[in-house]
Symmetry: C2
Amino acid sequence: MTDTATATPPLIAIDWGTTSLRGALLGPEGQVLEERQAAQGILQVPAGGFATVFEQHFGDWARRPGSLTLISGMAGSRQGWLEAPYCACPAGFAQLAQGLAWLPGLPWRVGIVPGVSTEAQQVPDVMRGEEVQIFGALQLAKLHSATLVLPGTHSKWATVQDGQITGFSTWMTGEVYALLSQHSILARSLPPDAVFDELAFERGVQQAQQGPSLLHTAFGTRTLQLMGRMPDDALASYLSGLVIGEELRGQAFSTSASDTPLLLIGSPSLTQRYAQALALLGRSSRRWGSEATWAGLWALSRQWPSP
Amino acid sequence: MTDTATATPPLIAIDWGTTSLRGALLGPEGQVLEERQAAQGILQVPAGGFATVFEQHFGDWARRPGSLTLISGMAGSRQGWLEAPYCACPAGFAQLAQGLAWLPGLPWRVGIVPGVSTEAQQVPDVMRGEEVQIFGALQLAKLHSATLVLPGTHSKWATVQDGQITGFSTWMTGEVYALLSQHSILARSLPPDAVFDELAFERGVQQAQQGPSLLHTAFGTRTLQLMGRMPDDALASYLSGLVIGEELRGQAFSTSASDTPLLLIGSPSLTQRYAQALALLGRSSRRWGSEATWAGLWALSRQWPSP
C-alpha cells in the first residue's frame, strides 16, 4: 500500500456476476493496486445478504476516506443487490453514468452500473457487465468505433460507433458446446482428456462456413468417428470449431465492412481460440482480458454525476 | 388368426431401434395381422442375447412354416445383432435387398436390412431404419421421387429420385430442443406443464427464417420472458418453433423446386407440427406413421434374392 493510494480517494471496481465476484482497488491513474476474487456470485448470496458479503470482501477498501465503489454485472439485475434498469441502445458512457443506481443506507458511496438493452427483429436482447468491458477495451485501444466480441457461455457481439453501443446480440455458443459435448449423443464419442487439436478445430470452423446449420453439422462429429475418418482425440476440438464457426458464420463477414477494428475480450484461452478462427476467415483482431473491466469502471468513475 | 395367415408363409416385420423393439405379423397382401412392441431396444439387450429376446417376443410367429423375418434399424449396427454394412447412396430397393445380412445358425430365415450412407462436404452421414420407412411411404404414396422428412431426435431429410435415395442429411433437432428446454439457462423460464401454443410456435418458425442462427435466436426465449413480452406458457412452443424453423431454414426452400412432393414420416403429433411449420412457409406435405415401416419391409420381402 503506497502513500498515494491512501491519500487519494480510491475507486473500488467490482464485477459481480452470476457465479463469481471479482474486485480491484484502483489508484488515482486507474492502476490496479490489488485484486480479489471469490466464488460468491449473486446466486450464492442469500436473500438480503449483499451488503454483508460486500463488507466481508471489500469492507477494508470501502472504509478508506472518500471511497467510491462501482459495481457492474448481474448485481444490478432483478435477482441482484439493487435493480438498475437497462439503458436502451444507442447507449454511451453518459447514459451509463446517468443510469447508475446508488445504494441507499450504506456508510459508503456504492453505485450499480445499469445493463444495456437492444431490440432486433422484434426480439429484445440484454447485457449486464459486458458494457463496462466494452467501454474499457475501447479506452485501452484508444478507439471510438469497433466491433467487440466477448466470447463465453453467452457470447456477445456489439457494434460501437462514435462511442455509442448501437446494437448487440447474444449467442449461446459456450452453453451449446457444453450441452453437446457433455449431454448429447456426441458425448460418448468424445474422450474426456483430449488436448486441443488445432487442425481439427480449424477444420470445424471451415466446415461451419458451408452451413447449412449447426443442427446438421454437429452430427458429423459422430459420423466422422463412426466411419473412422477422424481420431477420437480430435473430435472435441472439431466440435468446438463447428460451434464457434457457426457463430462467426452468423456475423456474415463477407457483407460487413472489413476495416472495422475487431476487439476480443475474455479469458486468454478463449479469445485465443476466437482469434485463430477469425484469422482463418481473414480477419485480424486484438485481445483484451480482465483489465478491460477495471478500465471501464475507472473511466466511468470520471463521468458520474454527483450522487 | 385366420386360415389365410396360417396357410401363407408369413412375413415378420421388425423395427429394432436403440431404445424400442416393434414387430408386426403381415399377411399375404402386406396387411397387419398383429402388432407387438417392447421397451427392449438394442441398448437393453445383454451381450449375445439377441436371439433369446427375439424368440421371447416373436418365437410363435417365427415357428410358422416358411416364415421370413426382416429386421430394420439399429439391430444391424456394430452394437446390434449382426452388422449389416451401409449401402452407399444412390441406394434403391435392389441394393438394400442385396445387402441383407442373413443370420446364421437359426432355425428360421432372419435377414437384417442394411443402413444407408452418404457423404457431403467431405463428411459422411448415416441412417438405419429410416431407409425402410422411406421406401414404405413411397409405396403407399405411389411415388418414385420425393423429398422425405423423418422428424425426431435426429431428423432425416432424404431425396429420392426414380426410386433411389440420392442423398440425405441428419439434423439433431429433437435432441437440441430437449437439451435447450431441459438443461440450458432457458429451462428455468419454461413452465413444465404448458400446453402447445400454436401461435407462439408459428412465431418461432417465422423468427427462425430471418436467421442468423439458432445459437442467437434461442436466447430470445429468455429475453422475451425477461422483458414481459411473451407469456410464460407460450415460451416452450416458441422455442420449438425456433428449433424446427432452423431445420426448415437449412433446407433453403426458396431455391429448391417446389413441385417435389414432400412426405413426412413419424409420430402423428410430431409430423403434425412439421406440417404446420411447412404450411406456414407455403409448402404442402403428406403424413405417414408406422405403417410406412411395415409397408417398406413387406415390399422388400418381395425383392430379396434367395438366401
